[in-house]
């Protein structure tokens, strides 16, 4: 790890100003990704702006037909939240299935989506639920937030403050854990939303994506049987030590069927 400055703002405005001043400064959330990357010298920010002391970023609120989760809310808190359990149980399940106990008690929603790891779980929920990402500058729709591998619509110095999840009619997340890392080798989030059926797939490709072919089948008939003959195409899917593209395509099919079966 290279030396860096450590800053601890207490408001979002202050944090934004600190990030604005130094081009190589980075926000620090749970540090589950950023700190190991710094230890391995894959990242070497000159300053860390620790968001842990910003109370307005933490917590879960229910507002009408939406659940708003602050960027600094830990996975364990989302998993344990009675509101989330009641309104979007699939989101609580997802958070409860991330990594291990240490990761869930440090890692945050904001850190997860800002990082946009191709195998992360939260991006699938944000995308499938048609959520809105709020930052210190604007609101960004899920469909335009995740732009590529470890890439998002965030601009330099922009801070995620929270995510607004519309409560779906029903939703389910099925994850196939990578045996070693326990990230999603493939994860499929299926949601019946006011805007129709949305299916988001993570882990399978370079970035979370919506499986529109599956969405159209389910829009017509929302049942596992409707997917019986589904052969998800392997083109463009990842191949690595833990599964080639064909295997990932198989998992997309199996997991989608299982998610839908849970909801039917």
């Amino acid at each position: 790890m290279l030396n860096f400055e450590y800053l601890r703002p207490s408001t979002v405005t202050e944090a934004g100003a600190m990030l604005g001043k130094m081009s190589e400064a980075r926000p620090l959330a749970g540090g589950m990704t950023l700190i190991p990357a710094m230890k391995l010298r894959l990242a070497a920010p000159t300053a860390l702006v620790d968001l842990a002391g910003v109370p307005e970023l933490n917590g879960i609120k229910v507002d009408g037909k939406t659940v708003i989760v602050g960027a600094m809310t830990k996975h364990a808190d989302v998993a344990a939240s009675a509101d989330v359990r009641r309104l979007i149980p699939a989101l609580a399940d997802l958070a409860g299935g991330i990594g291990d106990a240490q990761v869930r008690n440090k890692g945050t929603l904001g850190g997860s989506i800002a990082n946009n790891d191709p195998a992360a779980c939260y991006p699938a929920a944000v995308l499938a639920l048609g959520a809105t990402v709020t930052t210190n500058r604007r609101k960004i729709a899920a469909d335009s937030f995740f732009t590529g591998m470890f890439e998002t619509a965030l601009e330099p110095g922009e801070i995620v403050t929270g995510v607004t999840f519309p409560v779906p009619a029903a939703a389910a997340y099925e994850k196939f854990r990578s045996p070693a890392s326990r990230y999603a080798l493939v994860g499929v989030f299926v949601a019946k939303t006011t805007g129709g059926v949305r299916v988001a797939v993570t882990g399978a490709a370079t970035c979370v994506f919506r499986a529109s072919a599956i969405e159209s089948i389910l829009a017509e008939k929302f049942s596992a049987e409707a997917l019986a003959s589904l052969r998800f195409p392997a083109d463009g899917l990842n191949s690595d030590l833990h599964g080639d593209a064909q295997y990932r395509a198989q998992l997309v099919g199996v997991l989608t069927k299982r998610a839908v079966a849970k909801l039917s």
């Binding site: 790890m1 290279l2 030396n3 391995l40 010298r41 196939f176 045996p179 070693a180 890392s181 690595d240 030590l241 833990h242 599964g243 080639d244 295997y247 198989q250 998992l251 199996v254």
Partner: protein, 806 residues
């Protein structure tokens, strides 16, 4: 738990043999008060970081230290050329073997820092020393190494192809040694008469040991006395002292001290003399300051010796009744880019002789080619050779059973050595002293409810799951080792063990052991032996190990030897204490030595109530007022060396049940049953832990762990825990552990060893279960690890999940 204690009668001493007392050492570990090498801070200590090769195979064109030396805090930058200038020798191989026709093992030079060429990703090219670790890291990035990158060879099959890249210019075929064992003609004759021949080709997957504590080493040099000290995470400090002092650094033995304090797991990974140990010791003298190196996890993946990595073809000849007539095994084993300390011994001496298993197969022939590749050196890893042999044999037995339509337990019974045939001489070197594998099998079948399996399989099928059951019977040779035999097999040293029992004037005892404790619970087990022998509570006994200035000599801990060999030395030392105590007591009680009995902590005159306690005798030995100084030395400290007359041969039967999800290929291990013959049990709780841990490690090999190199570039692809999958607690059910004891006939304890048998039996057991679950698809083998992806592919290729229902 229902363990026979292995000793006669009930266990009455709560800290004696057979008692499940809690581990004495655990409190300091649980409270964070352990003292590991990384915890040690010496005055004026510097930090060292290795610059390691990013290439699998390259010529070093130049190394430019200038920029690094100019960095803040940098003390020195050392390279292979500096080693040469200082006349530092290469790392020795301690156990070469003799190949076909008497050909010696090829032992190419193994410099502690690469000279001229690098031979694997991770090979050290420079050592940067600075005031702080961060400064050393920064400077390491500033060392400019120019490489001429060469093509690399990674897999053993590629290494032996004609025209393959040569790892060493003067070994053009990459063959380190071509070794054989057994009677080739008898074996071939038996194959001619066979009614059936079962065949298998398999890979034994390469593994990374990953002890919880990474390796570390500190070199220190005391100028006033010209004395070197090395603190190192070693399983055998005395051997490091001998190998490094004598062969590498030319330090006389009386000027070198090696200390291995608390060590957080070894599994074999820490039983070699490593380059880093020599480099810090050498650098400390050059600088006149202590030098500390602590490996980080990523560095461990590319610098700890790896394990396994075999490719094997095997055939078994059977008669029409399923009797084994002969076995023929041909293996190619990976040695990596240099020979590690015991490299060539593992796939030969610790492998071939185990192919007899617990069976009466009359003819066996085995040939092994050990080959160099551009990968990390390969050496012993828990089980070392014996899991590989068991895997070949027990997979082949299952293949034969299914081809002949014989029940898998039945075919094993038909070929098993009967308990009354011991001692049993196998056709491949070993004479098993004792055992009852049939008894182990009977108990294991009952504990696993073997006969109830079809109903459980049907229940799984109703849920759309494929259920399989796997069985393995095994024998292992441990208690390394009878020196005379081992020296004939190539080892360059003895393999005995030492123990000293120091009785204090007040009757408490300090024990100095040549064995090394790094997680096995020795501080408890050895204390229990002394407690039993001397009738003093374990809390009054301290076990000291891991410091060559304290402990007389020792060969360390590996090959499940600590109890069978070290414990036997300790037994002998307590014999001597008791013998001397009797003489002292005889004087005190005015009786003849021969009339003194020692029992329950009292020396008494036989047939009388006249007695002296152990503490009184100890006091008399140190305050010899009324003491026969003319004929007896004062003091009460006795030392013993023990050289075993044979290996020990734990054996047993393991049974696993798995359930496979045909849609995803996930294998779930549902149950694991062991019944093992390990001889006398000192602490049943520790035995349970050792066997369970071993099983889990073997399950790791069978289902999860895989060390994968890119075949072209030689880059390690599974170089972190993000990709290298260790077994976790939620991967395994509670392992059912039971013992079925026959005592070792040739050591005083009757103990055989239990450290490795879990990893020896479990890969074959689990894979046999996986193959059983898939057998209806025509599958007769699957390579390890049986990962979800691999299992799904096998199912898919065999016709897909559609056929699951059958």
């Amino acid at each position: 738990m229902n363990h026979p204690a292995g000793i006669e009668g009930a266990v009455t001493n709560p800290t004696g043999i057979g008692a499940s007392m809690r581990r004495k050492e655990d409190m300091r570990f649980l409270m964070g008060r352990g003292n590991y090498v990384a915890d040690i801070k010496l005055p004026d200590m510097t930090a060292g970081v290795f610059v390691r090769s990013p290439h699998a195979h390259a010529r070093i064109v130049s190394i430019d230290k200038k920029a690094a030396l100019a960095m803040p805090g940098v003390v020195d930058v050392l390279t292979g050329e500096d080693l040469k200038t200082d006349g530092v020798g290469g790392l020795p191989c301690a156990w070469p073997v003799v190949g076909k026709g008497g050909a010696p093992t090829k032992e190419p030079a193994h410099p502690a820092i690469a000279q001229g060429k690098v031979r694997y990703v991770g090979d050290a090219v420079a050592f940067v020393i600075a005031e702080s670790l961060a400064q050393a890291r920064n400077a390491a990035e500033a060392v400019v190494v120019e490489y001429d990158v060469l093509p690399a060879v990674v897999g053993v099959l590629d290494a032996i192809k004609p025209g393959a890249v040569a790892v060493f210019d003067d070994i053009p075929d990459n063959v380190c040694v071509d070794w054989e064992l057994g009677d080739k003609h008898a074996t071939e004759a038996a194959f001619k008469k066979a009614a059936h021949i079962a065949r298998i080709s398999l890979v034994n997957n390469r593994l990374v040991g990953n002890p919880m504590e990474p390796r570390a080493a500190i070199g220190a040099f005391d100028r006033s006395r010209g004395q070197h000290t090395l603190y190192t995470t070693s399983q055998f400090p005395h051997i490091v002292k001998l190998l490094m002092g004598n062969f590498v650094l030319n330090i006389p033995q009386h000027k070198l001290r090696v200390v291995s304090p608390d060590v957080g797991g070894g599994f074999g990974v820490k039983q070699f003399h490593y380059a880093e140990e020599a480099v810090v010791t050498w650098a400390a003298k050059r600088l006149g300051r202590p030098v500390k190196w602590v490996c980080d996890r990523s560095e461990g993946f590319i610098s700890d010796a790896h394990g396994r990595d075999h490719v094997t073809e095997a055939e078994m000849a059977l008669d029409e009744n399923g009797k084994f007539l002969a076995l023929k095994v041909s293996t190619i084993a990976n040695m990596g880019g240099y020979l590690s300390t015991f490299g060539p011994n593992i796939p030969t001496n610790l492998y071939g002789p185990l192919l007899a298993g617990v069976y009466t197969t009359p003819a066996i022939y085995c040939e092994v080619k050990a080959v160099f590749t551009n990968t990390v050196p390969v050496d012993a890893y828990r089980g070392a050779g014996r899991p590989e042999a068991t895997f070949v044999l027990e997979r082949l037995v299952d293949v034969a059973a299914s081809e002949l339509g014989i029940d898998k337990a039945e075919i094993r019974r038909r070929n098993m050595i009967p308990s009354n045939a011991y001692p049993y001489q196998t056709p491949v070197m070993m004479e098993y002293d004792s055992g009852d594998p049939g008894g182990c099998l009977t108990k294991a079948l009952a504990n696993a409810d073997w006969n109830g399996f079809p109903a459980r399989k049907a229940a799984s099928a109703a849920k759309g799951k494929l259920r399989g059951i796997g069985l393995c019977t095994y024998v292992e040779a441990c208690g390394l080792a009878p020196s005379r035999i081992a020296i004939r097999l190539g080892v360059r040293g003895g393999l005995f063990e030492s123990a000293a029992v120091r009785v204090h004037p007040t009757g408490q005892v300090t024990v100095l052991m040549g064995s090394h404790n790094h997680g096995q619970g020795h501080e408890t087990t050895f204390a229990q032996i002394v407690s039993e022998r001397l009738s003093i509570p374990a809390e009054n006994i301290e076990i000291v190990f891991g410091d060559t200035d304290k402990v007389q000599f020792g060969l360390g801990t590996y090959g499940s030897r600590s109890l069978a060999v070290g414990g036997s030395a300790l037994w002998k030392a307590t014999d001597k204490v008791i013998a001397k105590g009797k003489k002292i007591a005889a004087h005190m009680l005015e009786a003849a030595d021969t009339d003194i009995e020692f029992a329950d902590g009292m020396f008494s005159v036989a047939g009388t109530d006249r007695a002296k306690s152990f503490a009184e005798v100890a006091l008399s030995a140190h305050f010899p007022v009324d003491y026969p100084l003319e004929i007896l030395e004062p003091g009460l400290e006795e030392q013993a060396f023990y050289d075993p007359v044979n290996f020990t041969f734990p054996c047993g039967a393991h049974i696993a049940e798995v359930e496979i999800d045909p849609e995803t290929g996930v294998v779930e291990l549902l149950s694991y049953v062991c019944v093992d013959d390990i001889g006398t049990v000192i602490n049943p709780m520790i035995v349970d832990g050792q066997i369970t841990g071993g099983v889990v490690q073997g399950v790791g090999q069978a289902l999860y762990e895989d060390c994968v190199y890119d075949p072209e570039s030689g880059q390690l692809l599974s170089g972190s825990f993000m990709d290298y999958c260790m077994p976790r607690a939620d991967h395994v059910p509670k392992v059912s552990v039971e013992t079925h004891i026959t005592k070792c006939t040739h050591n005083p304890l009757g103990s055989k060893g239990c450290g490795e048998l879990g990893t020896i039996g479990s890969p074959a057991t689990v894979i046999n279960a996986v193959v059983d679950a898939l057998s209806h698809l025509g599958v007769n083998h699957i390579d390890m690890p049986a990962s979800p992806h691999r299992v799904w592919r096998v199912i898919n290729e065999a016709g897909g999940a559609a056929r699951v229902a059958q």
